[in-house]
Symmetry: C2
Subunit: 240 residues, 2 copies
DNA sequence: ATAAGTGATTTGTAGTATAAATAGGAAAAT
DNA sequence: ATTTTCCTATTTATACTACAAATCACTTAT
């Protein structure tokens, strides 16, 4: 499950490289980048490829280019924080405790509400999809399989809300949650500890009991939060 | 308040033009675009500018390019729905009833929770900022001034959560909410109808009463929802 | 019938040239 | 001395050309 992220094109490599440097703070906000010609040379790409990458980073709010002035790194306020790449870069380079806190709070807000909505509006097919993910969790024999199934469970629950915006929100924070789930489960001697609680949520959705689903999901999120916090020091070490 | 959106650069124009065409459905998912040389010519720009635009659209998940095969429009599932541009394009071209429903549901989930968080964690400066926005709402003499102050109120409340992800989420849906607020307020004979409820929320935040703030904000969102629904037919007509 | 190979087509990358914007200084006016 | 206007150098923006890389569709050999 070591997502290869085989960057096919050159400009994608440049996007990743510059993006990571900016988000990690290696390139400080307000600071000017070398002018295109020099930067392209130093990265061993053509100015064409560099510029295509810069347009994308600009669209993500990371940089700002103006004629004569040059290109400078923008303040973090302007970053498109909900962009999948930006989140992934934050995750890859030092997921600080405050970042994890923000993520957990987001989950506490979104997921219980989504569970309630799913209980109200799910279709039979969507329910089956959730059940399948649950079964995969139950059948998981190692941490990786568990994490994949766990993500699928939450993903399919979000889809069952039939709200495209909610679904997108999850798919965006999915990357971050991936590393988070592993962190959370790793601390448990038995990584299947959360299985019964998942079943309760599934049952509440199946029986169309929104409030039960909401409470069940809230407990689920809170449990994994406390698991992460039992091991505070290890939080800022990315593996990959 | 007729946001000009003066698109300075050429490739930004191309981004906007193609983006709107895709999101509006004028260019159907799965369909191939003309090859770069032809498309560039038909849009009267160089292939360079066109490609810079395509890289951005590609990053937003709207299109996908492969050598020899060409470039095709991706399914809506893959679109970066929480991208500010994508949301704006959806808004500009036919905000369907289901889209508005999704937006309202999002608000119902996010904003009460955010009000509660703001009540817990706001700083004095942030409280003052909220109060300023409230005062501006109270002093508003026309719908435009009201809408601006209303947006500012919600924006500053979100900021007072001190959660960057929540703040980003709001700034993303802000554009959509802008048109939504106007729609909501236009139906009220007196657009200041919601002012007292805003004050209640502000007071709850000031007194650090999370649950009161949550309930107050929930009522606020629900009220504006019912206002929008009183005039269902007019919902799908963009102005600009 | 199957496999290997070949060519044509489209995007990807590089390089060069010129246009447009503007920061910063020089010159002129007050 | 201060302000205004103008100029110029520098950097990004756009255009154009050429070639590389990938791969679909077809051909050929076995």
């Amino acid at each position: 499950m070591v997502r290869p992220i085989v960057v096919r094109s050159l400009h994608n490599q440049v996007i990743q490289e510059l993006g990571k440097m900016i988000v990690s703070g290696e390139l400080e906000p307000g600071k000017s980048l070398p002018r295109e010609e020099l930067l392209a040379e130093s990265m061993s790409v053509s100015r064409t490829a560099l510029r295509e990458a810069m347009k994308v980073l600009s669209a993500k709010g990371l940089i700002e280019s103006r004629q004569k002035t040059g290109t400078r790194v923008r303040q973090a306020i302007h970053w498109n924080q909900l962009d999948a790449d930006v989140l992934a870069w934050r995750c890859a380079s030092m997921p600080t405790d405050t970042f994890i806190e923000e993520l957990v709070e987001m989950r506490e807000i979104i997921e219980p509400a989504a569970a309630a909505a799913a209980a109200r509006r799910h279709t039979p097919e969507q329910l089956t999809a959730i059940k399948d993910a649950y079964d995969a969790m139950a059948a998981a024999e190692d941490l990786d399989a568990w994490a994949v199934a766990d993500l699928a469970f939450h993903d399919r629950m979000l889809r069952a809300t039939n709200n495209g915006l909610l679904t997108s929100l999850f798919s965006v924070i999915e990357t971050a949650l991936g590393t988070y789930f592993v962190m959370s489960a790793r601390n448990s001697a038995n990584f299947k500890l959360a299985l019964p609680q998942h079943f309760k949520v599934y049952e509440a959705i199946r029986r169309r009991q929104p409030e039960v689903a909401r409470q069940g999901m809230l407990k689920l999120v809170d449990d994994s939060r406390s698991n992460v916090h039992h091991q505070p020091g290890k939080a800022n070490k990315p593996q990959r």
